[in-house]
């Protein structure tokens, strides 16, 4: 282990870090006589200075790539140093980090070398080394290479806990524009295949508990937000379809930030990070709150409100449904009240069996009264400062703007050229 490895790790981690997938949940692989197991809740081990969690050792096998996608740091026209790890090196790094409890497992991605099939085989070889030689039972997230042979895709799912292909751009046109070498079918093909393999594996496991698991933690994907003019409506509708038709576990959103972010540029109406945050909120509403995409966004308002979370936004458009009586509403109705989440809705249901709940009880149950107060009654009592009809309701619900830090005024004479293509976001496939 020399400085050589340090250097390689640095370059390959740098290339992989724009993939936002981080979770290590959903698999409960047991430790059968080797090292490691998977915790079904997932465990975060640390958080970097951008506030994102470190759960898996996220690296590329190699950052060499034959493709030239405009949004990617590893594109072939980018002038960076190109290195590669051997399967042995990947395994040793993973085990070394894992034994010290730095990580929960491995996230292995790669640039495409020679051909998709060749690259996919490299990845599988590394994972196989880990699983059979090192008897590693921890979490492994493996990237699928678009265009790889279906047989290789199937093998990948048998070794890994979660597999993923990144869709990257929500529409066919955007993909054509920014990633001319990748066709949408080459990306969606493996996703469809994985989805049907998961379904058939579930049936097999019902027949026999000994049938090997195929991708027990399912599959995920990632979408870039803000690099193309796609609307939130297109994105959220796509996510909904992915969850419903392909049974994806997660869709990740990655805000497109040009590398040269400059405070001297005119302030944009909404920051990309805020938009990303709102999309995640909408995503949660789809998966856990029983909302559908068309309820959150429609033709008339194709983008999410940056000032309000999507649930509050929905509630304000449907004031006729409120206020809801806490002691009588069904679980589904409670879930739709701003300020009540899955846990607090469950607690309300559990607690009100013992007797009616008053307003004071709700705070103790963990309900965010700041938002909920306008939309609920408890034993008929309403405690919002203004009624639902009030015109100031919206402004009361919008988060108070943060106070600006004083800054020194200065004249900036040099205006750097902003290269929109030299951008961040996702590393690779």
């Amino acid at each position: 282990m020399a400085t050589d490895l340090t250097e390689k790790l640095k370059i390959l981690a740098d290339g992989a870090k724009y993939d936002v997938s981080c979770s290590s949940s959903g698999s409960s692989r047991a430790n059968n006589g080797g090292i490691g197991n998977a915790a079904s809740s997932g465990i975060c081990h640390s958080w970097t200075s951008d506030g994102r969690c470190v759960s898996l050792l996220k690296i590329l096998m190699t950052n060499r790539c034959i493709y030239d996608c405009a949004y990617c740091v590893n594109r072939s026209s980018n002038d960076t140093q190109r290195v590669a790890l051997t399967p042995q090196e990947v395994a040793e790094l993973t085990i070394g980090f894992y034994r010290r409890n730095y990580i929960e497992g491995l996230f292995l991605s790669t640039g495409v070398v020679r051909s998709p099939d060749y690259t996919m085989e490299l990845l599988i070889q590394a994972v196989r080394t880990l699983r059979s030689e090192y008897r590693f039972n921890g979490y492994i997230h493996l990237k699928l290479v678009p265009g790889a042979d279906p047989l290789l895709v199937q093998q990948a799912g048998l070794w890994a806990d979660r597999v993923s292909v990144n869709l990257e751009l929500p529409t066919r046109e955007s993909l054509l524009l920014l990633a001319p070498d990748k066709s949408r079918d080459a990306v969606v093909g493996p996703m469809r295949q994985v989805s049907s393999l998961i379904v058939s594996n579930r049936a097999e496991r019902k027949q026999s508990r000994k049938a090997p698991r195929f991708a027990p933690a399912g599959q995920s994907t990632q979408l870039i937000v803000g690099a193309t003019p796609d609307t939130d409506r297109q994105i959220v509708t796509l996510s909904e379809q992915l969850y419903q038709r392909l049974e994806l576990k997660r869709v990740y959103y990655s805000a497109f930030i040009p590398t040269v972010a400059d405070s001297r540029l005119p302030a944009r109406p909404e920051t990309p990070l805020r938009r990303e945050h709102r999309l995640y909120q909408a995503d949660w509403l789809l998966r856990y709150y029983g909302f559908s995409a068309h309820e959150l966004l429609d033709e008339a308002s194709p983008n999410l409100d940056s000032e309000l979370d999507p649930k509050t936004g929905w509630a304000l458009r449907h004031l006729e449904l409120f206020p809801v009586e806490i002691n009588g509403a069904s679980y589904e109705e409670l879930l739709r009240v701003p300020g009540i989440g899955v846990r607090s809705a469950q607690r309300i249901i559990q607690t009100r069996r013992q007797g009616h709940l008053g307003i004071d009880d709700l705070t103790r149950l963990g309900i965010v009264m700041k938002r909920a107060r306008y939309f609920i009654t408890a034993r008929g009592q309403y405690v919002g400062e203004s009624g639902l009809e009030s015109s100031s309701l919206r402004s009361r619900l919008v988060d108070a703007p943060k106070q600006r830090c004083p800054v020194q005024l200065s004249l900036d004479l040099e205006q750097p050229v902003v290269d929109e293509t030299a951008s961040l976001i996702t590393g690779e496939l």
Binding site: K10, D50, R99, Y102, L362
Partner: protein
């Protein structure tokens, strides 16, 4: 009349106290742990003398009486490190004696809510420490980690590490509470023991390299354009950083 009570600071002592006070439904204002040699003649506290048989019988009774939910709550509250945990538990048990298993659904009751909140804190910290433990390989091959949690969470995280690292010798040392878990990989058993650190442990040269690799990797991973130190500090509070390799902490 409400009173202040004290016990000798052991679990048996506390259980004896509960066994004595609960049946009488005594109103209690304060319960404090007073070590034997610090007991004073003139204090107004009533000292409950530990009796092992009483404590054991009481613990058996609790185990058969309480619902799974209440037992879990009780266990976690006992592991907490909170100035009023004895009193919180006492009030909870008092209410439980009155309400029976109905108490599981009384989350909005002030007594239940405060005990529940403490339970949540302990559970949450235990989960967080599944990630925050950092082992260092010492000369001789043992993996050693130090932690400084607010609550005594070792008993809650022991089995997780025993399953995960079943083929390595490891020790997790809670420096704040002076206790630690020792795992023996030949017998596959772990033990909670009182523990003190007397000398700086020696680490292997390979360990040094891995720590350096990990620090470099961690630095690389941050996306500078998304810098958000406030969010980071919410997730990794300063108090835990002393024991985290990537934040420059060593044993």
């Amino acid at each position: 009349m409400s009173c202040c009570y004290s016990y000798d600071g052991t679990l048996a002592g506390l259980l004896t106290l509960y066994a004595r006070l609960l049946p009488e439904r005594v109103a209690v204002e304060r319960i404090s742990a007073v070590l034997l040699d610090q007991q004073s003649l003139f204090s107004s506290e009533i000292c409950i003398v530990t009796e092992l048989t009483v404590a054991e019988a009481f613990w058996q009774r609790l185990n058969s009486r309480l619902s799974d939910n209440s037992l879990k709550l009780l266990r976690r509250c006992l592991l907490a490190d909170h100035p009023e945990q004895e009193l919180l538990i006492y009030r909870y048990l008092l209410l439980e004696a009155e309400q029976g298993q109905r108490i599981d659904g009384m989350l909005a009751h002030p007594v239940v809510a405060s005990a529940w909140k403490l339970t949540q804190q302990v559970g949450r910290e235990a989960h967080r420490y599944l990630g925050f433990v950092r082992f260092q390989q010492l000369q001789g091959g043992i993996y050693y980690a130090t932690i400084t949690p607010d609550h005594r969470i070792l008993l809650l995280i022991g089995s997780h590490f025993a399953q995960r690292f079943s083929d390595q010798q490891w020790i997790i040392h809670d420096q704040r509470h002076g206790e630690g878990i020792v795992y023996d990989c030949s017998s596959k058993e772990w033990l909670l023991l009182p523990m003190n650190q007397e000398s700086q442990p020696e680490i292997t040269p390979q360990e040094e390299q891995f720590q350096q690799l990990w620090r470099n990797y961690f630095q690389t991973l941050a996306v500078p354009e998304r810098k958000n130190l406030k969010l980071q500090q919410g997730k990794v509070p300063l108090k835990v950083r002393a024991c985290l390799t990537e934040f420059g902490g060593t044993i």
